[in-house]
């Protein structure tokens, strides 16, 4: 495909030992250099959908392709930030970033990454000693340090104060400007919609609304 980042066709996921689908019959096409907001209440299937798009979980039905391929087969091109994610507490911010780069087999200027993602003030501090906002920034820096083409974030603004949220949305705008495709799950409907190009609404695992050029 030319400029399409993600194609989702009749996608569904049902967990083992569960009668209900986490989500089903999702159809979507996300062009490159787009920000998509995934909206819905608790248990609506947002996180499960993100995990399938990221290649973390297998779909039960339908298909998903990322840059024309199975997401599980394109190592290093997808950056996934889970909702309840924690870096290694005993390592410093710098060491955590270096660990990510190593695991992805990439070499990069760590000082530049630290500067670019605004974690310089606390780069030598251990992750465990950081505040919630600092931790989230560090996690995002780690995910983005490996320069993924598709960035998938599950509720990245959860627990952040207003200023940190604002910084995050600015960062997302920068990511889009630099040519990346971003998918974000969020509870914060107003902010998410106003900063996105597209929005998908889920209700109990069913796609209830889809809007392009959301703002």
């Amino acid at each position: 495909m030319d400029d399409t980042a993600v194609i989702i066709s009749n996608l569904g996921k049902r967990y083992r030992r569960s009668e209900k689908f986490a989500f089903r019959d999702i159809n979507l096409r996300i062009p490159e250099r787009t920000v998509l907001s995934l909206l819905g209440g608790n248990g609506s299937g947002k996180s499960s959908l993100l995990e399938v798009i990221s290649g973390i979980r297998n779909p039960t039905s339908g298909s998903v392709t990322v840059f024309g391929r199975d997401p599980r087969s394109i190592r290093g091109r997808i950056g996934y930030l889970p909702q309840n994610f924690s870096l290694y507490n005993e390592l410093t911010v710098r060491e955590n970033i270096r660990y990510f780069l190593t695991m992805y087999g990439k070499e990069a200027d760590i000082d530049r990454i630290i500067e670019e993602y605004g974690v310089g003030e606390f780069s030598e501090k251990k992750y465990a000693s950081l505040s919630g906002g600092m931790k989230r920034r560090t996690e995002i820096a780690c995910i983005l340090s490996v320069d993924p083409e598709l960035v998938v974030m599950d509720e990245p603004t959860a627990g952040l104060d207003i200023d940190s949220c604002k910084e995050l949305w600015e960062l997302i705008a920068k990511l889009k400007a630099s040519g990346k495709t971003v998918i974000i799950a969020s509870h914060d409907m107003h902010d998410a919609v106003s900063h996105s190009d597209m929005a998908l609404y889920l209700r109990e695992g069913v796609q209830t609304e889809f809007r392009e050029d959301a703002p």
Binding site: S86, L91, G105
Partner: protein, 369 residues
């Protein structure tokens, strides 16, 4: 960057995380030392377990000092009658069946002989510090030196109790029933090691880092190898610390096969830990399951109660309990009876089997995700 290099970096990061957390150090180093020493020092005072009989044929100053130490510190019984022949010793032995005994005969020219091996000051010092191991070793050397076919010193027990450490271990193992079984020490060690392993592996599974890194080059294969190598480390450290405490503080002597015992016990606990935490994924449930499964295995295999007291059906079933062979290997290494070669073979089969089952479960789980 190749897989080996990524694996190496991952292990370095694990090591950094580990040493920066003081609780880990306490758990793997201090806890085994404390537990082994507590049980090792408290239980040897139970002198009824290993009975000491002494006959003083010398009657000199030093032999009298030795007798008084044996009587006062080790509740030795002084034998007035003759213990010159094996038959006479057997007669005494037969009076107290089933109880481990040590017979010490101080020869009539003890004074001449002991001077060959120690000075008067050192002898006094060792006696003052109650070093029974030293006394036993010296007496055995004297006995070997006679080489005249007569019995000068003999140690009659179900097992060799020639030094204090061994004696401590036997006391420890016999505190439930006055018979020799290799149980309680190894039970404690295996419980500590397996609990530590389950905690390590459970922590690993709770991290979402592996999910995040699934799209990196840190694939499932490298993750599995890294986890196995990493899980081996705490179990090996605990076992080494336990053996150091036994050897250098409790003065237990092992044969050189202790290395094999350490290796097999470590790999066994790793395979077991992986298996348990794969089947039961909930944090606290995994801990409870480990204790239940390990205790059940130890009960079935004669680890806690001697096999000769167990029902024949349980003894037959113990052949299929993997931990039986690990305990046998420990027993052999520490001087207990057992078929060592057979145990190594069977332990290896079970360990490889556990790894194989773990791998199959992981693969099935992956497919169902």
């Amino acid at each position: 960057m190749n897989a080996a290099s990524i694996l190496f970096h991952d292990l370095i990061v694990r090591l950094k995380r580990y040493v920066r957390n003081p609780a880990n150090i306490v758990w793997v180093i201090v806890v085994p030392l404390v537990i082994v020493n507590i049980v090792g020092f408290i239980l040897p005072n139970d002198d009824g377990i290993v009975a000491v009989y002494v006959q003083d044929k010398d009657g000199g100053l030093y032999s009298q000092i030795l007798v008084s130490v044996l009587v006062n510190e080790y509740s030795a019984t002084v034998i007035d009658g003759s213990l010159d022949t094996q038959t006479e010793i057997d007669e005494i032995d037969a009076k107290y069946p089933g109880q481990a005994k040590v017979f010490i005969i101080i020869p009539d020219d003890f004074f001449q002989y002991y001077k060959k091996y120690t000075t008067g000051e050192e002898f006094q010092a060792q006696l003052t510090s109650n070093n029974l191991s030293f006394i036993m070793d010296m007496m055995k050397t004297i006995d070997e030196d006679y080489n005249d076919g007569n019995v000068h010193i003999t140690i009659r027990t179900n097992t060799d109790s020639s030094n204090l450490g061994q004696r401590a271990l036997k006391a420890l193992n016999n505190n439930l029933i006055k018979q020799v079984s290799p149980g309680l020490t190894v039970t404690l060690i295996l419980l500590i090691v397996s609990s530590t392993l389950v905690v390590v592996i459970r922590d690993e599974r709770q991290q979402r880092m592996n999910d995040v890194l699934r799209n990196s080059r840190y694939n499932k294969g490298i993750q599995a190898v890294s986890l196995i190598i990493w899980a081996l480390l705490p179990s090996a450290i605990i076992l080494v610390m336990t053996f150091i405490a036994m050897r250098f503080i409790l003065d237990v002597s092992f044969d050189s096969r202790v290395i094999v015992a350490l290796f097999l016990a470590s790999t066994f606990t790793v395979a077991y830990g992986l298996l348990v935490s794969e089947i039961i994924r909930n944090g606290q449930a995994v801990f409870a399951a480990n204790t239940s499964i390990m205790l059940a295995m130890l009960l079935l295999c004669g680890g806690i109660f001697p096999k000769d007291l167990l029902a024949q059906r349980i003894v037959d079933a113990s052949v299929y309990v993997p931990v039986s062979y690990i305990i046998d290997i420990f027993g052999c290494t520490m001087g207990y009876a057992g078929n060592y070669d057979h145990s190594v073979l069977m332990a290896s089969v079970f360990i490889i089997g556990m790894f194989a089952v773990w791998y199959v479960i992981v693969k099935l789980h992956e497919r169902s995700m």
